[in-house]
């Protein structure tokens, strides 16, 4: 698909946060690489939806359940995890650094944002002004339309940050993006 079809903005940020140079995302991975305590990293993806279903669509984001049995988007081994950011989809908040003093408890955050300013549920533009939310294992809205659309593009951003108490290790997890038509 030609690039021109998916974006014409030439923007270099997601919800006013600059992307981190060196985080070379692909369509299926967000390789944050090595994190430095106190230095957040930001990546972004564009979700483009086309539908001729007249009632529109919704895209939700979630993270998969993990082997630790905790609702953490990223884990390392059997015990270490990075928590979802404290904001929620219904009430996203400005990014704040993790301040936990006990490893694995608010010592690392992973969050997302969306540039969709007309979400269909709740306050339509709640992610504006650089607001972020933590994902859960239940899909929550990051893009939608109540009418059919042609190549409607929404930029979704991801941010991660750890403090110096976060246990070292190789962390990974799965973000799930689901596009559903409106019934």
């Amino acid at each position: 698909m030609p690039v021109a079809d998916i974006t014409g903005t030439g923007a270099n940020s997601v919800n006013a946060t600059n992307l981190t140079s060196g985080v070379t995302s692909t369509a299926s991975t967000i390789p944050f690489g090595t994190l430095t305590a106190g230095t957040p990293k930001v990546a972004a993806q564009d979700i483009t939806v086309t539908t001729n279903a007249s009632s529109g669509y919704t895209v939700t984001a979630s993270h998969s359940a993990n082997s630790q049995g905790v609702s953490a988007p990223l884990i390392s081994g059997a015990t270490n995890n990075i928590d979802p950011f404290s904001g929620t989809n219904a009430s996203p908040v400005t990014w704040s650094s993790p301040a936990g003093s006990t490893g694995n408890t608010n010592t690392g955050y992973f969050g997302y944002t969306t540039e969709d300013s007309s979400l269909c549920s709740g306050t339509a533009g709640r992610f504006g002004s650089n607001k972020w939310a933590g994902s859960t294992t239940i899909g929550t809205e990051v893009a939608c339309s109540t009418t059919g659309v042609s190549s409607e593009t929404t930029r979704v951003g991801y941010q991660i940050e750890v403090n110096n108490v976060q246990p070292p290790g190789s962390y990974s997890g799965t973000v799930i993006l689901v596009a559903t038509p409106t019934y």
Binding site: M1, V3, I6, T7, G10, N12, L19, T20, S21, V23, T24, S25, T26, A27, S28, T29, I30, P31, F32, L35, A43, A44, Q45, D46, I47, T48, V49, T50, T51, N52, A53, S54, G56, Y57, T58, T60, S64, L74, S76, F110, C120, S121, I138, G139, E141, T146, S170, Y171, S172, G173, T174, V175, I176, L177, V178, A179, T180, P181, T182, Y183
Partner: protein, 299 residues
């Protein structure tokens, strides 16, 4: 079997961005999935089996390893959004087998997937499921989040036999006052039955003298059981003056049951009227001077 819905497409593309410097270059790696139909409606006899089909197309440049499974869905919010779920009153997953559930889609390739749904003999009402097609996430090498792209194709099943169809208009609203049109007219429906119900009809708008201003057609819209849905209509006229009454006449269900609701609104071009009034007042105040000036000009 909703064959007409086969014409509908929903395509879902995911493009990744790398960094500020690599902004344009980073856009080249995309995954695009297309599902058809996005939703379909079917009827099923209790005790019988029906095959539901959906097609998934890989519109990416590379082959994709895919999985297909069935999830239930319920209404989410009041504008027709859905939430994928497992179990519940209207669950269909335990009745359903999907084949194939794992396959590789070459670039440009299409795979038809079939869900075989068998209803128990005592089943009644509605059941709601969704094909969920997912790109198989790769194996993580660590220090990264894997992104799993998925797309859903809904199916709404109505079991033949006795059903409880119960739909009501709980609210009809419009702005109380506007200077100009168009005027939005919102209808809120609540379905307290046990099956999805489609409603359709029209909104008749009349002025203060009872003259018809417009008949607004409200196209068929499904309402999920135990859910509310707002249906939006609009009186697409700009210049309107006075009070207006909008009366909705809506039909639903197999018996074409009727629902009605009414709302009143006022439209008056206040600022234009104020300007005209000021001009008239000015002309009245200076009428003698204007008359003299006019006579002087015509001599």
């Amino acid at each position: 079997m909703g064959a007409l819905f086969l014409l509908f497409l929903i395509a879902f593309s995911l493009f990744a961005y790398s960094s500020v410097k690599d902004w344009v270059r980073g856009q080249v790696q995309g995954q695009t999935l297309e599902v058809s139909p996005p939703s379909q409606e079917l009827n099923l006899d209790p005790g019988k089996t029906i095959e539901v089909k959906a097609n998934i197309t890989n519109k990416s440049k590379d082959a994709l390893k895919m999985t297909a499974h069935i999830e239930d869905f319920t209404a989410s919010g009041d504008e027709g959004q859905v939430a994928l779920s497992q179990g519940g009153t209207y669950s269909v997953t335990s009745w359903t087998k999907v084949t194939p559930n794992s396959f590789t889609l070459p670039a440009g390739g299409t795979q038809e997937v079939t869900a075989s749904v068998t209803a128990p003999k005592d089943a009644a009402g509605g059941r709601y499921g969704s094909f969920v097609f997912a790109v198989k996430p790769g194996t993580s090498s660590g220090n990264e989040a894997i992104v799993s792209q998925q797309i859903a194709s809904l199916f709404l099943i109505r079991l033949n036999g006795p059903v409880n169809e119960r739909l009501a208009i709980t609210k009809m609203s419009s702005p109380t006052f506007q200077e100009f049109g168009p005027v939005s007219l919102d209808l809120t429906f609540a379905n307290t039955g046990n099956v999805h119900t489609k409603t359709y009809g029209l909104i008749n708008v009349r002025d203060m003298l009872g003259n018809k201003v417009a008949d607004i057609v409200v196209p068929g819209t499904n309402i999920f059981p135990d859910a509310s849905r707002i249906v939006k209509a609009s009186l697409n006229k700009t210049f309107l003056i006075g009070p207006y009454t909008a009366t909705a006449l809506m039909y639903y269900g197999s018996q074409n049951d009727v629902m009605t609701a009414q709302t009143t609104f006022y439209v008056f071009p206040l600022r234009i009227a104020a300007i005209i009034l000021v001009v008239i007042i000015v002309l009245f105040i200076f009428r003698k001077r204007i008359r003299k000036a006019f006579k002087a000009l015509t001599k």
